[in-house]
């Protein structure tokens, strides 16, 4: 793996990034970084069409979730709008045996793991706190405290090494997602230290979407984030986070690097949060419209669509069919979200401890008795 990146891409930030598809939809066959590492992809037309379907679908599902929130059906929603390429590319780079540690915005990665997209909606609707089996789905629970999951991922990756599951092409690798704001957290920096020292088989995938709620990148760092890796003793690479091909190629290489026993990599996916931080946020208070407009022309889906059209990999019929399928999935998701029952109140006492607790048991009984005492009255 390489430190440093090439200067390709007219729209690249100073220092460049790895880009395999320009905002105009032009393919760049391969990119060789300053350190001599070459990145490319070798997709069939079907695979290209599959990636496009992923991108459109996760955006459509996200839009449906935003609508559900606006209609009062979700308590909150953390939209991935604008970050589809970073998530789909890196998610599709994972192999089945790999383990992902998301924040609360990785709905696109979740989708690429072939997980039912409704899985995190209990959390956002307020009927549970997530409630899924991390190991079954190879996808850890959404972590809301910023950066904490990077340490969990690092520990998990240490366990992979201890289990002897690295050092071969079919070894296991771990990916930790986090954002630009998280890079200021002590825990994330501790994760970098640990991963470096223990040579953990993992990829730190930072979606730099330029804002931590309202605070711009300049409030988190004086140097490009990918360069932080050098100080911890492992490679850092910046990619065009709106380029699904670069996201796939670099993540796949970094994961293979890890699974082969060559240690961690930091990937900085340079992207933009097109929407609000969450549905509770008002980005017009801290960023100007022209900035948002300047990122619209770098949209991850429109560039990919332009590429497919130019290469005659996708035609209007295909694009319409993808839109329609995504819509069907979104409407199905909507129906199922609306049908999510509220949990029975007494279930709040479940799963406090694996071995239970006499205190919790006593309070559950008191709670049940208290409510039973109102039977036959108007009390609810």
């Amino acid at each position: 793996m390489a430190n440093g990146v090439s200067d390709v891409g007219a729209d690249a930030p100073a220092g460049g990034f790895v880009q395999l598809l320009t905002p105009d939809g032009e393919r760049i066959d391969s990119v060789t970084t300053a350190d001599g590492v070459t990145y490319s992809v070798d997709f069939t037309d079907d695979e290209y069409r599959g990636l496009y379907r992923d991108l459109v679908t996760v955006r459509r599902l996200d839009a449906e979730a935003t609508a559900l929130q606006r209609q009062g059906e979700l308590g909150i929603w953390a939209s991935l709008l604008g970050q589809e390429a970073a998530q789909v590319g890196s998610g599709r780079a994972l192999r089945p045996q790999d383990m992902a540690f998301p924040t609360y915005r990785e709905h696109g990665v979740l989708y690429t793991r072939s997980i039912d997209p409704i899985m995190p909606f209990g959390l956002f609707r307020g009927v549970d706190q997530g409630g899924w089996d991390a190991n079954e789905h190879r996808f850890n629970g959404y972590t809301i405290v910023i950066g904490s999951q990077t340490l969990h991922a690092t520990g998990y990756a240490m366990g992979v090494t201890m289990d002897g599951k690295t050092g071969t092409p079919d070894g296991e690798a771990v990916i930790a997602y986090f954002g630009d704001g998280a890079t200021s957290q002590g825990e994330v920096n501790e994760a970098f230290v640990w991963a470096g020292v223990f040579h953990a088989p993992m990829v730190f995938f930072c979606q730099n979407n330029q804002y931590a709620i309202s605070e711009p990148l300049e409030r988190q760092t004086r140097i490009p984030l990918y360069r932080r890796a050098a100080g911890f003793g492992f490679p850092g690479v910046r990619i065009d986070g709106n380029d699904v091909l670069a996201s796939f190629a670099v993540t796949r290489a970094a994961l293979d690097h890890a699974r082969n026993g060559q240690g961690p990599t930091l990937i900085e996916a340079y992207t933009y949060r097109m929407g609000a931080h969450t549905s509770s946020d008002d980005p017009t208070r801290y960023r100007i419209a022209s900035e948002v407009e300047s990122w619209k022309v770098k949209d991850p889906i429109s560039r990919f669509k332009a590429f497919l059209a130019k290469q005659q990999i996708g035609d209007d019929g295909f694009f319409a069919e993808v839109d329609e399928s995504a819509k069907v999935l979104a409407l199905d998701l909507r129906e199922r979200v609306l049908a999510m029952p509220d949990p029975a109140p007494v279930s709040m006492f479940d799963h406090a401890y694996p071995n239970g607790s006499p205190e919790v048991d006593a309070q559950r009984r008191q709670f049940t008795d208290y409510h039973a005492s109102f039977e036959g009255t108007d009390h609810r």
Binding site: F101, D128, Q129, G130, G131, W132, D133, A134, N135, E136, N140, G141, T143, V145, S148, T150, L151, H152, A153, T154, G155, Y156, A157, M158, G159, V160, M162, D163, G186, E187, E190, A191, V193, W194, V197, D350, H351, A352, Y353, P354, N355, S357, P358, E359, V360
Partner: protein, 328 residues
């Protein structure tokens, strides 16, 4: 094969046994390897079990606990050492926000069988941050269980029970009692051991109940021996488990004696003693001859070593409280 060993050595033997019995058990912390820990609790374990099972970690407590979470998700059973009580706070976020909640958050899918060992309490003449009693922070946190041992025999069995438990457990070790000796049956079958979360009557008595845990059990027993010379027969209960507390044993005792005095090193304000006093008042109201009294550290930062003996509850302060209870 009972042996007379120190509390610290009993912990060492207990940890060794868990490492022998379960390949998923790992020990991690600062200086736990070659050095054997600053108190030598893990002495010799890295040599015998390897540096991938007894892991010297980078010097960052959040990292110790945070990576332990990931290792536990992977199927390991990490036993984390926090070097001193006053150094646990950088890990507080991981402990209360992640370790305590992941089982609940995942609806029971993700278990974190993590033990967090913390030497706690004062009385060793140390500098700041080395003598604190932070147990209430953790006992207050749902999702954690909190225990502490007071003697070598309990140290040996309780550390094994804690490691074998699927609950996340904060295991407080009474550091000033590390060198106290007692008889330990190293061959004892854990199946016959006293339950981890049960309190125990350390001294049977009839006139008042002293409630203590960790380093204060010895103090309470000494006070009870002194009171016996004055003709007062005090019962001493070693709580052992601070969350959950085994209240039934406590209530039965107080209903017999009619008096309760809680002793702990931690500051009194919102401490374990406050909760115990409230519960006893609720459940033993008609049996009480006097209000529940507390003998605790003062509500100040832990003081300099040269005055710590005046800060820590001691035999005389316990007896003074006993006098006040009887004088009510």
């Amino acid at each position: 094969m009972s042996e007379i060993i120190t509390l610290g050595k009993a912990l060492n033997h207990g940890l060794r046994r868990t490492l022998e019995q379960n390949a998923k058990v790992i020990i991690m912390g600062e200086d736990v390897g070659k050095l054997g820990g600053v108190f030598r609790i893990t002495d010799g374990l890295q040599k015998d079990f390897g540096d991938d099972r007894v892991i010297d970690t980078p010097l960052a407590e959040a990292g110790i606990i945070g990576t332990a979470v990931g290792l536990a998700i992977r199927g390991y059973r990490p036993v984390c050492e926090i070097q001193f009580d006053g150094f646990v706070y950088p890990a507080y976020n991981q402990i209360v926000a992640q370790v305590a909640k992941m089982f609940y958050r995942s609806k029971g899918h993700v278990r974190l069988p993590i033990v967090i060992r913390i030497p706690f309490g004062g009385g060793i003449g140390a500098v700041e941050h080395h003598s604190e009693s932070p147990e209430a922070y953790f006992a207050h946190t749902p999702g954690l269980k909190v225990v502490t041992c007071s003697n070598p025999a309990d140290a040996y069995s309780m550390i094994q029970q804690a490691v074998n438990s699927d609950d996340p457990i904060v295991f407080f070790e009474p550091k000033r009692r590390y060198w106290e000796k007692g008889e330990v049956d190293l061959a004892a079958d854990l199946a016959g051991a006293y339950p981890l979360h049960a309190s125990r009557i350390a001294r049977a008595g009839t006139d008042a109940t002293l409630l203590a845990y960790g380093p204060m059990v010895r103090t309470a027993l000494d006070a009870a021996a002194a009171a016996a010379e004055d003709g007062r027969n005090l019962e001493v209960i070693d709580l052992r488990s601070l969350s959950p507390v085994d209240y039934d044993t406590i209530y039965a005792s107080v209903r017999r004696t009619g008096r309760a005095i809680v002793v702990h090193e931690a500051p009194g304000n919102i401490g374990l003693g406050a909760e115990l006093a409230a519960r006893i008042s609720e459940q033993c109201f008609y049996y009480l001859q006097a209000p529940v009294l507390r003998v605790t550290g003062y509500d100040i930062p832990y003081p300099a070593a040269r005055v710590e003996e005046e800060y820590l509850p001691d035999l005389d302060r316990v007896l003074d409280a006993v006098d006040r209870s009887f004088g009510w």
